[in-house]
Amino acid sequence: MVAHLTRLLGPAHLELAEETVQEAMLRALQTWPYQGVPENAAAWLFRVAHNIAIDAVRRNRTLGQKTDAIVAELFHYASVPPDDPYLEDQLRDDELRMIFMCCHPKIGRDARVALSLKTVGGFGVREIARAFLADDAAIAQRLVRAKRQIREGRLTLDMPRGHELKQRLDSVLEVVYFMFNEGYAAHAGADLIRQDLCLEALRLGRLVAASSIREPRVDALVALMALEAARLPARVDESGDLILLESQDHGRWDQRLIALGFHHFDRSMVGDEISEYHVQAAIAATHARAADSPSRDWPVILELYDQLLALNRSPVVALNRAVAVAKVRGPAEALAAIEPLANDPKLQGYYLLLAVRGHLLLDLGRPAEAAACFRAALECPCSEPERRFLRRKLEVAKGA
């Protein structure tokens, strides 16, 4: 709805669009709990928001000569029947344009995610700050700066074309995937906002995939996110403790998301482009295909990691690959594979590198060194369930 109103009011008045939606929600919140939900709640909100916007536009002099035209548009939408099929398409299109604007190169990289979450996802400053472990003031400032960039750069909600569209799409996919990873990296048990992030990223990905932009890598990204999100319910036990992939109950994987993932995975096979998203989706698909842990096809997974590493020499990819190396060629080779990563500046203070190393050393019958790794991992920033997991591993190492 913010996206829709922003299109009507103009991107420079994004703030007004946000306040309008806020006000409409507030009215619902004050009324519905007593009087009950009106017959068609969405239509009620939609109409009320447009009426609030009409009042605001009439009061607001900054719109100048455009005022009459904007008011006429708002009036038009305020009276659209709620079951108008065209309206739903229009709203989806408005959201799509909004994400593409939020990922405009004129907007700072770190602000793109926050801005998308705020304007399209309906997240608040506090929630965004919590999700990114940043403080409220920093996020608020980032958003203010982004809105200024929209105004000063005279950004529009027009979809880019041709080469520019391709570039912008990459930025959109990057933002969506970043959002997903932020949600996925820390575990649901600690903070539920994280799962919301994953689901919002998936929703945005699907929105782009359903649009007229036919790019196989969009489907690859959606497939990847759906297949990984399917595992979310199996990742923590009742007490919120982490369960490693190999001990997960595959029965708890979300079958609907797996089906969705495979649907998009198939669609991503069109054409000959192989993006990183493709390879990562293929890895996730291999995991999802296994009926249980022992039947997982590790040699295929390792091959895919080799491919991924060739596309992206990221130390995080190399670390993940090492886990597959351990499964296929044993812990000694895996340990040798992660040795060079110890000095990588990007992985300094990264608990997972130390945890993997500790795990491999334990398998190699070197518990004293493993214990040292888990101890060092506990010094790194990580979530509460991760900390409990590391403490358990430390106990095992000490007892071995």
Partner: protein, 112 residues
Amino acid sequence: MAQFMLLLHSEPSGFMQLSPDEMQKALEKFMAWRNKPITRDGHRLTDDPGKVMRSTGGQIRTTDGPYSETKEILGGYYTIEAADYDDAVRLALDHPTLEYGGTIEVRQVWGT
């Protein structure tokens, strides 16, 4: 079953701090509570202090309501069914207004 009135006092501006997403979640909680089978009736009151009328020395005087000095106002009320006060309080324990800084006054309807 006796009937009880739940009088909800809160600051109307309290929700302004929430994001649309949080409002949506709050709304779901409020609606879930309202839809419980114990609820007979509910009404929202307008966001103003209202009026208080009183007769002094044969003269009726009308002043602004009792809430003009505080930010909290009586925002609305529910009628619910409960066995006794303990039961009514227990049923109101999970009313989301408490989570959002509101207070609930519980009163039994006479003769029920």
